[in-house]
């Protein structure tokens, strides 16, 4: 079985307090903030590794990111992926989700046939939750989002469980396909020192725009249909009216207020 996992390097949320909004360029300055695997992509990778253990085959990691994201791909290799491809080119920079999905799709086309592509449902930075379905559309395969369970038995259609409001749907689906997962699907494994040493032997290939076939114009800032007209910190309503005093006084004042408003 051939499984491809789409992994997005994101700034480690532990250090998000250091993110700065540059008012001039309207971008977030993430310099010096270490990257990590987007949290849900760890779950996607775990699902892929579990399937490989069960069915055999290989797990490939694909990422579109700046070249300095290689440590993040090393992390994915240390978790157990066999091989990683980093799609990196200034031409790809600034892609919206259509552009991102398109670039990932041409990279995957170069990798050849696959049974399954796994994504996270959403990232923690852009967080649009749009890339997986758009990737499937470019590749012409079916896709299921919000996947919280997957049952694979050889020779039979696969069963994917997809979360919906207050419940789930169960669908029968045949490879090749794209699935995007939610957190409850599994618990990602820990990486040991041994795994990290082993990962040193595994290849990371870096592909530029010249290594793939871009027959459509959607890649990068210039090709993307959406534009970011503005980026700003959310508006502050202004300070609340504060109720002060020792805790008992605060409680009494608030209760009195709620009483006058008819809540008690």
């Amino acid at each position: 079985m051939r499984i491809i996992v789409c992994v997005k390097p994101v700034p480690d949320p532990k250090h998000w307090n250091r993110l700065q909004l540059d008012p001039k360029t309207r971008t977030l300055v993430r310099k010096g903030i270490p990257g990590t695997i987007n949290p849900l992509d760890r779950h996607a990778l775990e699902a892929a590794l579990t399937l490989r253990e069960q069915e055999g085959g290989e797990v490939l990691v694909v990422s579109m990111a700046p070249e300095d994201s290689q440590p993040v791909l090393k992390e994915a290799l240390a978790m157990g992926a066999d091989r990683a491809v980093l799609l990196s080119d200034r031409v790809f920079a600034g892609s919206d989700t259509l552009g991102t999905a398109y670039v990932l799709s041409v990279g995957i086309e170069r990798l050849g046939e696959f049974d399954l592509i796994l994504c996270g449902d959403e990232t923690i930075d852009g967080g649009t939750a749009q890339v997986s379905a758009q990737l499937a559309e470019f590749l012409g395969t079916p896709n299921v989002m919000h996947v919280s369970g997957l049952e694979v038995s050889p020779g039979k259609p696969w069963l994917a469980r997809s979360q919906i409001e207050h419940g789930y749907t169960l669908v029968e689906i045949e490879p090749p396909m794209v699935l995007s997962v939610v957190k409850t699907i599994n618990t990602p494994r820990y990486v040991t020192l041994m795994n990290i040493l082993e990962a040193e032997q595994k290849p990371i290939e870096v592909w530029s725009a010249n290594d793939v076939t871009l027959s459509e114009p959607w890649a990068g800032l210039a090709g993307s249909p959406t534009q970011m007209a503005d980026l700003f910190a959310p508006e502050r309503k202004g300070m609340a009216e504060m109720i002060t005093g020792d805790p008992k006084e605060q409680a009494a004042k608030l209760a009195d207020r709620l009483h006058r408003l008819g809540f008690c």
Binding site: T128, S224, P225, A240, L261, F263, C264
Partner: protein, 336 residues
């Protein structure tokens, strides 16, 4: 009857088993107010099977056209079939904008459709504007709600956006004046891509958060499962429902269905009280329509104090017990 569709803004009104998602109605109201200055018409798009009654219903919300893609193969939601069902009509009638709810269905259907049409899509918007020249500007939260992006789609049409449920009010229904147009989807079984085996939904809880007049929500600052009773006691004293931020749900103090915010419920209570909640946008988008919001937090710099009406700086463990007592006393005084 001419089948020419004139509407420039189309709103996808999602339904499962003939129950519509409320966000679809919210968007009908918003679409009408966006369209008015430009004198554009607004259409509701329904996809499914046996939709006549629903078409009547959406028409009562004042839309000009109800576009109905009806086929037995569309009985269960399947993204590829849904895309096929509306793609032709979009290419033929060229709407300027298409709005969908950012629900489990909408977040899956919209990206697939936008990619098929090779057009731009903005994600789980919390506000929408339409410029006089017909550009849709959407406000998209990113980076965990720490920033907002204003997204436009200058070159391609339609401009597609998913919108968070609960951002806009549900309009009042009135007298229907629009007409129904059938989209004739003409699907084949192989258009489906996958087969829905079953759909399970639990009954929506009766005293649901969404309809509660009073919501008391607890955050990570509540401290532990044992301390969670403080949230429940305060809610009980006020006859309210209990909500939560994500950490208490992750910790198992509260249930998933109690989570409020971007990935959870949207509430519109008369009174919201947040206990030990820092005030991330992820959570705040779900409570921003509260009439009166109160926060109790030990950190005077907590962001929630910049978003709520009334703030108490202090340890919730010291404030909540006397608060519950005082509220109970008032309630007992109440005659009858």
């Amino acid at each position: 009857m001419s089948d020419q569709v004139e509407s420039k803004i189309w709103v996808f009104v999602e339904q499962r088993r003939h129950v519509v998602a409320e966000v679809g109605l919210e968007l009908l109201g918003k679409a009408r107010s966006l369209a008015e200055p430009l004198q554009w018409k607004v259409a509701a798009v329904l996809v499914g099977h046996e939709l006549d009654a629903l078409a009547e219903m959406v028409l009562s919300f004042g839309v000009d056209e109800a576009l109905v893609a009806d086929d037995a193969l569309l009985e269960h939601y399947c993204n590829q079939a849904y895309v096929k069902a509306v793609e032709g009509a979009i290419r033929q009638y060229e709407p300027q904008a298409l709005l969908l709810g950012a629900t489990a269905m909408g977040t899956d259907f919209a990206p697939r459709l936008a990619a098929r049409l090779r057009t731009g899509l903005s994600a789980h918007c919390i506000d929408l504007d339409l410029t006089p020249d017909g550009q849709l500007l959407s406000l998209v939260p990113g980076w965990g709600g720490n920033v907002m992006a204003r997204i436009s789609c200058p070159k391609t049409r339609p401009q597609v956006a998913t919108v968070l449920p609960g951002v806009f009010p549900v309009p009042e229904p009135g007298r229907a004046r629009g007409r129904m147009v059938s989209l004739n989807p003409q699907l084949q079984p192989e258009d489906l891509g996958y087969r829905v085996v079953e759909t399970k939904r639990e009954e929506a809880p009766k005293s649901g958060l969404e309809t509660a007049e009073v919501v008391v929500a607890g955050g990570w600052g509540v401290g532990s499962k044992a301390d969670w009773t403080r949230v429940e006691e305060l809610a009980a004293a006020l006859n309210g429902a209990v909500g939560a931020t994500r950490p208490p749900v992750d910790e198992g103090w509260a249930e998933e269905k109690q989570m409020i915010g971007q990935s959870g419920r949207t509430v519109r209570p008369r009174l919201y009280i947040g206990l030990g909640i820092s005030g991330h946008m992820h959570h705040l988008v779900g409570v921003k329509s509260s009439e009166l919001s109160v926060a109790i937090n030990s950190d005077p710099k907590a962001a929630i104090f910049e978003h709520c009406h009334v703030g108490l700086v202090g340890d919730l463990k010291e404030i909540v017990p006397p608060l519950v007592e005082a509220i109970k006393q008032y309630s007992q005084q109440e005659p009858g």
